[in-house]
Each structure stands twice: as C-alpha cells, then as structure tokens.
C-alpha cells in the first residue's frame, strides 16, 4: 500500500494558511493499488492544487489585510473578512481598492468620472468621498479576492 493517502474532504481551514514556503498540495487522484499493475488513471495525474497559485498572481506584491466595519457589505465584503490585495495592478474605474486616505487604510470602490475620483462605499449608510487636490490620498493596492468564513 502506498503511504501517500489521498487527502479528500480535508479540513478547509488548513488551506487558509498560505505559507509561502510550504507547498499545499491536494493530489487530484490517488493511487492505492496492488503492486504489479499500473493504474490507467495514473496517466491522468497531472498536478495538485495550490491555492496560492490560484489566488496570488504576484507573490512579492500581494498582501493580506483584515476588514473592520460594514462599509462594503453590499459588495460581499464583511467585517472580519480577509482581503487579498495586489499592489502591482493598476487602479482603474470600478475596482475595489485599498486607499490610504488621511493616514488610514480603507477599502472602497474607486470611481473615476470626468476626471474626478471618488471612493464609493457599498452601504447606503455611508457617504461617497470625493478625492480633491487637498485630500491626503493614494492608492495602496487593488483588492483581488475576499476570504469570507461560512461556518
């Protein structure tokens, strides 16, 4: 018997640990077969799945941040969620960005209309913020994924 057991239905929480040094692998197919006959399925084992590969495009430029508050709830971003932020992507209209505004990091949707920049909250209880030449503002990064706990 092979010692490499198939890990299926493994605790998803474990995947959350995106340790860049470790390879988190889930073999697509396992092979616990009697010796002698090669499994026909073996030919189809191509790769194992790595969430880093799926969720992170630019490792050096990718950061995780944690959400506080409810200003983005209508976009499915809730307090306690972890956001994956890629600093290498350009901030363009309609992207969800992390902005450094008046010395604080904030998550909002960027809207650019007629050359004017706005930060849109996604919650009607919050006001839209217009970026003016006086604003202490810069784009910190572009949000690519939100990790939300469902259990």
């Amino acid at each position: 018997m092979s010692r490499n057991k198939i890990i299926c239905g493994a605790n998803i929480q474990e995947i959350g640990v995106l340790d860049r040094k470790a390879e988190i692998s889930r073999p697509l197919l396992g092979s616990e077969i009697a010796a002698g006959f090669p499994s026909p399925a073996q030919d189809y084992i191509e790769t194992s799945l790595d969430l880093n590969q799926q969720l992170i495009m630019h490792e050096a430029a990718t950061f995780f941040v944690k959400v506080e508050g409810d200003s983005m709830e209508d976009s499915g971003i809730y307090a306690g969620d972890i956001l994956i932020v890629d600093r290498s992507l350009p901030a363009i209209d309609k992207k969800i960005i992390i902005a450094a505004l008046e010395g604080e990091l904030t998550v909002k949707q960027l809207r650019i209309k007629n050359g004017r920049w706005y930060l849109f909250p996604k919650n009607k209880n919050y006001q839209t913020i217009e970026i003016t030449p006086d604003s202490d503002f810069f784009v910190w990064g572009v949000v690519t994924y939100a990790i939300h706990k469902l259990f």
Binding site: E14, G16, V17, D19, K21, H58, E59, A60, A61, F63, F64, V65, K66, V67, E68, G69, S71, I82, L83, R87, S88, I98, A100, E102, G103, E104, L105, T106, V107, F138, W140
Partner: protein, 424 residues
Amino acid sequence: MSRNKIFALVDCNSFYVACERVFRPDLRGKPVGVLSNNDGIVVAASPELKELNMGRGTPAFKMKKAIKKYDIHLFSSNYALYGDMSARVMKSLAYFTPNLEVYSIDEAFLELTGINCKNWLQYGRIIKAKVEGWTGIPVSVGIARTKTLAKLANTIAKKYEKFNGVFNLIDHPRFRKVLQSVSVDKIWGVGRRYAQKLQRYGIQNAWQLSQAEDNWIEKMMTIVGLRLVKELREISCVDIEMDIMPRKSIVSSKSFGKLVTSLPKLKEAVSQYTTRAVEKLRLQNSLAYQLMVFLQTNRFRQEPQYANYCSRRLEVPSAYTPDFIKLANSMLEAIYRPGYNYQKAGVMISDIIAMKYAPLDLFLPCYLDDERQPLIDSCDKINSKWGRDTIQFASSGIKRDWQMRRQYLSPRYTTCWSELARVK
C-alpha cells in the same frame, strides 16, 4: 575581467522605517525611528528624525521629551516584518534578472549584462517604480559597468535630490567630474585606514584613485586594492555572488532586558532561543548535529565577569526541538556559575545537513521516521497561524521577565494571521 558588463545596485531608503510606514500611511513625513534590541538606541531614522539631530545612535531614553514635542514615532525592531518585506523587495528585483546578489537585508546587486537597453537611466527608473509600487518600499538605483561603480552611483542617487533616486554612470558625459566628487573614504571597499593612507599621498577622490599606478596600488593596498582600482576604471573584476547553499550555522541569541542571575531563568531563555533556532533549521529543511550554548556577563559593568561556552554533538542529526532543548540545558548546567549577573546568552546550531541527506540508522531513532515529526509539524503550523509562541515548550517558562524590551513593537503585518493590517 570585462569591460562590457552592466550592474545595478538597488538600495532601500531608510529600510526599517520604510517597512513601518507601508502599513501606517499616517507616518509619512513624520519623524520615525527604529530602535535596537532592548529599545536601546536608534538604528534607523527617517530624514525628518535626522533633521531633529536624532539620527542613528541616539539613545532612546534621551528622546523622551522630544517624542511629544515633535510627534516622533519610535518602533522596536520588528525582524519578522523587515525580513518579509526584504524578501518581497528581492523577489520584485528578480523579475529583472536571475543574476541577483542579495548583498544585505536592504540592498542587492543586479547583473544586467546582455539586456538590450538604449537608455539605462530609464531602465533604472523602471526598476525603482516597480519595487516601490509592488512593495511600498522606496529605493535608490545606481547603474554602472562594475559593482564598485554601481555602488558609487547609488550613493550619488541617494545624495542629490535632483536625480530622483536613480543615477547612471554608463557612458556618462562627465564621468571624470562625477568620480572627482566622491572622496576616497566613501568608496565601497576602501576602509578608513586605507583612506587615511591614500589621503596622505594626495589621493582625495575616486578619480585620483582610478588614475593611480598599478604597481604602486598593489604595493599599498595589495591585489585586492588593485582590483578595486580597476573597477573604478570600468573594468569589472568582482562578479555577482549568488548563494544558494543552506546556511552553515544558525545563531539565536539576545541580550536580556535586565541582568539575570538564576539558573532556572537562564534555562528558560536558552530554551526559547533554542526553539527559535530549531524552527529556522526546519524552515530550511535541514537537520543538524552540533549545538553550542554560550553565556556572558556585561563587560562594561564594574563587577565580576564571566563568560563561557560549551558545544556538544547529537548522535543522530535532528530538527526536533526537545532533542536540542535537553542538550542545551545540560550544557548550560555545565557552564553556569552562580553569583554573576548575566547579560546575554545564546545558542548556535552548526554542522547542518539537508534533510534529504540524513543518514538512516538502524539502531538509533531517526528524526525523519517516527511519530515525533507530526508533533513538531503541528507546532510549527499552529505557531505560523496564530502567532509565534502560541504553542511552546514548557521549559521556555511562562513569565519570561528576562525577555528583551520591545515596548514599541509594531504588528507582524505580513507574517502572522492575527496581526494583519486593518482596513475600514
């Protein structure tokens, strides 16, 4: 020796301070300092702090009044953060070339030979923009035909604001003028002694040194000096060094926050340093044979002095923390003498081998092949998820009043899930 090579030296500006600022945009433009171990002195200062005459070396206790007055922000050294941000800087540089030499935590040489580029200044600007955009760490870039000149170009890029952090020496129309502006003691590889010696012979600047006669230089500064002079003449003699070997030894030691006299307290400290060192060993997928423990009193105090060390070998190489803690404690007992105020202790792991080369011994329990490995793996996993020392060995103690002072420690934004930056 070659005349056609191209090197860049990329150096982070006030690196430790920059790391703290990435996650604290409110600190831009404010005086910020990072303190040494035990929050002793300033080891990194932002330009704003330097302007207040509180640059490197200022003792923290002397700044108490100024902190409020000038809104100064001080931080304890956050090595987890700086190490991770450094790796990010190096990784973004690796997009430009695989020929990368990580020279220190905050600077790297890139060999750009063979890249088809007509405007090296522009290329340097692209490097700078990429690193800053990706990591948030501002850098300076110097480009030249040799490593020594790239380093020199970098200091110029840093020194004069008008160059916006990038300076190119390749085919520079006023090459001679530039070298004349750099005094010999500022040249990479010229120590203070040699600088004084050269100045006595009337050699004040880099240009004069580059024009010195070969024989004379070799007599004065040996063959190493001659190599350096050739580098100033745009003849490359020093290659990029890419070190891919695992570390030969791992040291974990720190000065105590306050002097320690008792053996149990020392054991706690040494257990914790050992734990840390063995964690590092596992991170590089290695095993080790040799462990050394050392301790010392504070030689600057007018009191009885004592320092000693002890080194022993494991029968089989291991990366199992309890193996090392047991050994460390027995060695500590052997060298400990009561009645002294100890200021520092530490451990060094050496004789390191890659795990895949571990000998398999039939009679001795092997680290790789028993039930101990899952235990230690779980500890590492839990600690990486919930933060360092969530799970620890009881011998490390709970109270730890010997621990270093790190009063102003910032969160480990990039290496600990529970300390991520918060966004609203």
